[in-house]
């Protein structure tokens, strides 16, 4: 069996309203050498029927999980089924512009050492046009001192399959497992910044990222993740920079605690404070 260049991985849970558009954006790609793997996480609407209506195209394969796995475990499941050299996640409520796969694979092919490509928005800051390869140290600097390049979601990335498998895929945390994986991949391997405007990220009320804002545990976990990333023994930043980032993170976090106390949200303050005192317990 011929292996495709890219595996497009689309995980879906109750996305009947959007998945048709997402699939069509894949089928309209200028790059034809892909497989589209759709893994339904036991939707209770018509998501699967809609997905199956596209499986006349031999490049489209539709799977349904035996039980609901949840967001990131399902992404790992989709990656297990992939045969391509590159993994391209596309959420069932987003779309890719027609040239997305072509450009992203070109960029990663041009930089053979790079493990991951990430769409980057603020190109005017750079002295050269994209694609730009960043060493692990530069990537971490960019993320922690300039703009958070690792805050992008899975739809904005393309990953070399071997690198994904070496890292063991996503950890099973809700919300921040994407950033966590990018940080882990970029610890050892260079990354490529790709030009923006390749994917379109839909904002709607049913999204995880919209509801998370209210979620205190996300703030705590994000802080713990950052602390772990910069204190990790393989953190690519030099010691001075590690300390600088750590201090910056702690200061920002302390401000959150003070604000919570100020507004009389003592429970929140306590929850935040507990993580501040014992960041090592977060692992």
């Amino acid at each position: 069996m011929n292996t495709p260049l890219v595996s497009v991985l689309m995980t879906a849970y109750n996305r009947e309203q959007y998945i048709g558009e997402a699939i069509e954006s894949v089928l309209a790609q200028t790059l034809k050498d892909f497989e589209l793997i759709i893994v339904d996480d036991r939707s209770i609407d018509h998501t699967v029927e809609i997905a199956r209506s596209y499986s006349r195209d031999p490049r489209v394969r539709v799977y349904v999980n035996e039980r609901n796995l949840g967001d990131y475990p399902n992404r790992n499941r989709a990656a297990e089924l992939a045969r391509g050299q590159f993994l391209k996640y596309l959420d069932a409520d987003d779309i890719m512009y027609p040239y997305c796969l072509e450009i992203m694979t070109e960029h990663l092919t041009a930089f053979g050492e790079a493990a991951i490509g990430i769409e980057c928005e603020s190109e005017h800051r750079w002295h050269k046009p994209f694609p730009l390869m960043l060493s692990p140290a530069d990537a971490y600097c960019e993320h922690y001192f300039k703009q958070g390049i690792f805050s992008e979601g899975p739809t904005a990335t393309i990953i070399r399959t071997t690198a994904f498998r070496e890292c063991g895929g996503f950890a099973h945390r809700r919300h921040i497992s994407d950033t966590e994986l990018w940080l882990r991949i970029a610890r050892k391997r260079p990354l490529v910044l790709c030009c923006c405007g390749l994917t379109w990220w839909r904002q709607h009320a049913e999204q995880e990222s919209v509801s998370e804002k209210a979620d205190l545990s996300v703030t705590v976990n994000r802080y713990l993740l950052d602390v772990m990333a910069v204190t990790h023994k393989d953190c690519p930043l030099d010691l001075t920079r590690q300390r600088l980032v750590l201090r910056k993170l702690q200061r920002r976090y302390l401000r959150l605690i003070v604000t919570a106390v100020w507004h009389g949200r003592l429970g929140s303050a306590l929850a935040l404070g507990r993580a501040y005192v014992a960041p090592a317990m977060g692992q």
């Binding site: 040239y99 190109e123 005017h124 046009p129 030009c195 405007g197 390749l198 990220w201």
Partner: protein, 276 residues
């Protein structure tokens, strides 16, 4: 591609055109009497029959030279690319394809703020919607020529850019958008280089530029065929004037008197101009 003393960058710009996935183009390079090697470098590429290089007899300056380049153009669409910028390889194919899909659009402009839109690009805006978005939203018409594709017939219908040194790009887009629909294209098609020799860098904070921007905004809003209704027009004018006054006040506060003077003169000129 208009060029004046761009020996450092023009090769990269030309190569970005030759690397386009869309191959049905002509590249017209008009040198405005550079005193460096700009023209020699450009001429190295004329082995490719799609490239023509021209030299102006006298220096025309920025916008008149853009009109000059457009006069030589045979294409259905005009795509400006400054000699210090580059296009990504998919730029022409994407812009042309999107303009073909929306024949009612007179002009296509790259747009950065995509998350505000509830649908993917390209997004067609009526004249009124484009004006609304420009004046009340995120200044979609402030993009420079490198971010734009124009239907050739539309360019000629309006006679091209005004010769004024600053803000003549936005002025022209406003004029086109008054009569034609506008297409917002995705960002990431061109790369705009920032460097010290730029007009933009040298001029952006200076009084005359701000004054001219104000004049352009006011005359677009006062024009008889301004696509906004009376109420919105009034609101936009109020907003533009307030911002300008704030600029004058902060210049006074910082004691930058020549700056204040040029802003004051700018406002005077705008008043005497009247509607039209």
């Amino acid at each position: 591609m208009t060029a004046y003393n761009r020996a450092r960058y023009i090769a990269e710009a030309i190569e970005s055109v030759l690397a386009q996935k869309f191959s049905d183009f002509e590249l017209i390079v008009v040198d405005d009497g550079s005193t460096d090697e700009t023209l020699e470098i450009a001429r190295r590429y004329v082995k490719d029959p799609r490239i023509r290089t021209l030299l102006n007899e006298k220096n025309l300056s920025d916008y008149p030279n853009r009109n000059q380049a457009a006069r030589f153009a045979l294409g259905h669409y005009l795509k400006f690319l400054d000699a210090d910028d580059t296009m990504y390889p998919h730029c022409l194919s994407v812009m042309v394809e999107q303009m073909e899909r929306f024949p009612e659009a007179g002009i296509g402009i790259e747009n950065e703020a995509e998350h505000r839109w509830s649908r993917p690009y390209p997004i067609l805006l009526s004249s009124a919607a484009a004006y609304r978005e420009h004046f009340f939203g995120r200044g979609i018409l402030s993009e420079g020529p490198s971010a734009v594709i124009i239907r050739g017939s539309v360019f000629r219908e309006f006679g091209g850019f005004l010769p004024e040194r600053h803000i003549s790009d936005t002025e022209f887009w406003l004029r086109i958008a008054r009569k034609h629909s506008l297409l917002l294209c995705p960002a990431g098609l061109t790369w705009w280089r920032q460097h010290d020799e730029q007009e933009h860098r040298r001029g952006i904070s200076r009084g005359p530029v701000i004054a001219r921007r104000y004049q352009v905004a006011v005359s677009a809003l006062m024009a008889q065929d301004c696509p906004l209704g009376a109420e919105e027009r009034g609101l936009a004018l109020q907003q533009v004037r307030r911002k300008y006054c704030r600029g004058v006040l902060s210049a006074i506060a910082r004691g930058r008197l020549s700056f204040v003077w040029s802003l004051y003169k700018g406002a005077q000129e705008t008043q005497t101009q009247g509607p039209g």
